[in-house]
């Protein structure tokens, strides 16, 4: 994508408004389209004038949670992607390529099978902790190995993710009793997610998003090298620490809500930069909106790619994200 520069053709607020309109349209599609197609009228009745018919029950209990969870997860992963890409100064970094999703999954599985945690809140917390642990590990390795190149950091992250998945596999195969419940967490989908999950994850996401916004000016300066940022008076340690915390909250909450939905955090920041430029106060807002649109649209697309069967949304985002990664590598963006 061609980078836009500071001079935008139209005001940023117009861009936000446009994205918000698209988001509403996509959410409406998520409510109406699927194995069965409902009219907007039916949707309205199910949500605001519940009449107890099968149609209303399906819309309120099955469609509505996905139409709420998908944009939340997408927004969180979009913001997390922006932060991770700035922190690592690496345009191919994302919560999954750095192993954060895998860390969150691992902790969810461990908390559930070893510690016997079963509450949604507890698992959300475990997921956030796992994402934080993975972030610290990957960046710690990179720091102790003496300024690894961005590409190398991604390779370390990907390897760590593979390692995490292997451990998860062992735990799953040795714990058949919990397998069903855990597979639910790890399948990376928006199907069958109760609304309670969204309510639980929301505080994590809101705090994470607000921290990101507060940091936005420091993050602007952090795009330059460390020496420049430090000489501009950016407290590097504090800013990085806070940003990691925010990434962990956002990624952890998303994994807790929908499992690891791949590559959202890789794709979204690129689109955000293309639309609103590099200033973080704008990038973060745009990434949240675009992420919400992207995840919801992918969720709708997943219902149709192998119709009448529903594909996991993670497969859809992985194909798009993998292709995107190839394009970025091809254009030497990293």
């Amino acid at each position: 994508m061609k980078p836009r520069t500071a001079a935008l053709a139209w005001p940023v607020s117009a861009t936000y408004a446009g994205l918000a309109v698209v988001l509403v349209v996509v959410m409406a599609m998520s409510l109406t389209l699927g194995y069965r197609i409902y009219s907007l009228d039916q949707v309205y009745r199910a949500l605001f004038a519940f009449d107890g018919t099968d149609t209303s029950v399906i819309i309120a209990n099955l469609r509505l949670p996905r139409a709420v969870v998908a944009p939340m997860v997408g927004a969180a992963l979009g913001i997390a992607g922006v932060l991770v890409q700035t922190l690592s100064r690496n345009r191919i970094a994302s919560p999954d390529t750095l192993g954060l999703n895998a860390g969150a999954s691992l902790f969810v599985v461990m908390a559930s099978s070893v510690l016997g945690v079963s509450s949604l809140m507890g698992l959300s917390f475990a997921a956030a902790l796992g994402a934080l642990g993975a972030a610290l590990l990957v960046f710690g390795i990179a720091a102790t190995a003496g300024g690894l190149s961005p590409l190398r950091i991604v390779l370390i992250g990907v390897t760590f993710a593979g390692l995490g998945h292997s451990v998860v596999e062992v735990v799953l195969t040795t714990n058949e009793a919990q397998m069903q419940q855990l597979l639910f967490w790890l399948s990376g989908a928006f199907v069958d997610r109760p609304l309670a999950l969204a309510a639980n994850g929301a505080p994590f996401m809101i705090v994470g998003g607000l921290v990101a916004l507060v940091l936005s000016r420091a993050l602007d300066a952090l795009q330059a090298d460390d020496s420049t940022a430090a000489s501009l008076g950016v407290p590097l340690f504090i800013v990085r620490g806070a940003a990691f915390l925010s990434v962990s909250l956002l990624t952890g909450a998303s994994v807790a809500m929908a499992g690891p939905v791949g590559f959202v955090g890789l794709v979204v920041p690129h689109a955000a930069r293309w639309l609103v430029g590099l200033r973080h106060s704008r990038q973060i807002v745009a990434a949240a909106l675009i992420g919400a649109i992207y995840a919801t649209a992918a969720d709708v697309a997943a219902r149709f790619v192998i119709y009448p069967i529903e594909a996991p949304v993670g497969a859809v985002t992985a194909v798009v994200g993998g292709a995107m990664l190839l394009i970025l590598l091809k254009r030497r963006a990293a």
């Binding site: 980078p3 520069t5 001079a7 100064r89 602007d220 795009q223 000489s231 501009l232 950016v234 590099l278």
Partner: protein, 279 residues
């Protein structure tokens, strides 16, 4: 602008070590306010470390750096960023950042949570871009710039910071000779027209001699010598500090001393002497 108030910097008994290796060894150096000070010395002598210590990017194990008699270790990061700017040796930023976006970063220490961006900030950015001649490049992504243009943009960033003291770590590295001169002329103008105190690390002795008000030779973490270029550019001192035989002549155009190092293998000393006589 801030012509009338210049900050005084003094390095006192500063010792700095990376692990077991001592890079600066009880080094003491007053920096002349309102002047251009150039730090020179062989590779690994500690001159870049000294510059970074002056900006507190590195912290000494003993000794202090004083800014107007206050130890900078006691100052807040933001305060310091308002007083001393530094252009790093190989600064980097995302290639698709525009020139203006990059220069705007220089206003970071001037902004507060309550007042994110003021007209004053915008003016400072405009002044910095105009002063470095990059205003017409403002929407260009920095990856599309030539080396000389890019260096001017980075200088514009430091300029937008509006600090009285500006440190530059080898700003002309990787530039061709025309752009080296252009860049250093710009630095010299900042000093003359705005009274900024400039501390430069330069590798090229002849450029150092031409632009420095005060030249400082650093060797093995200590100050080997300091003085005007004419005082310091002597064959014996250069031999002592850099370990090369050199002949010093006077630049017939600018009048500054010029060092002609002898190649170690063929050392045509006689020829060099002849040149010296001819000039």
């Amino acid at each position: 602008m801030t012509d009338d108030r210049t900050h005084r910097i003094a390095v006192r008994d500063l010792t700095l070590a990376y692990g077991q290796t001592r890079v600066l060894d009880a080094l003491t150096l007053p920096i002349a306010p309102g002047k251009i000070t150039v730090l020179a010395g062989p590779n690994g002598c500690g001159k870049s470390t000294l510059l970074r210590a002056i900006r507190r990017l590195l912290k000494g194990t003993a000794g202090q750096v004083l800014l107007d008699d206050v130890d900078i270790a006691k100052m807040s990061g933001k305060d310091l960023a308002l007083k001393i700017g530094l252009l790093a040796q190989n600064p980097s930023a995302p290639g698709d950042m525009s020139v203006e976006e990059l220069v705007r970063l220089g206003r970071y220490p001037h902004q507060t949570m309550m007042q994110p961006w003021s007209p004053r900030d915008a003016e400072a950015v405009e002044r910095a871009m105009a002063g470095t001649g990059v205003a017409e490049l403002r929407t260009r992504p920095i990856s599309s710039l030539s080396g000389g243009q890019l260096q001017r943009v980075w200088i514009a960033l430091v300029l937008a910071q509006e600090t009285d003291v500006i440190c530059l770590d080898e700003p002309v590295n990787h530039l061709d000779i025309a752009h080296q001169l252009e860049c250093l002329d710009l630095v010299a103008r900042l000093n003359r027209e705005h009274g900024r105190t400039i501390v430069l690390v330069l590798h090229d002795l002849n450029l150092a001699a031409r632009y420095a008000d005060e030249l400082v030779f650093v060797r093995e973490g200590r100050i080997a010598a300091r003085g005007t270029p004419t005082e310091l550019m002597s064959a014996s001192l250069i031999g002592e500090v850099f370990g090369v035989h050199a002949t010093i002549i006077t630049d017939p155009v600018h009048g500054s001393p010029v060092c002609i190092p002898a190649s170690r293998s063929s050392a045509p000393k006689a020829a060099a002497e002849k040149v010296a006589e001819a000039v």
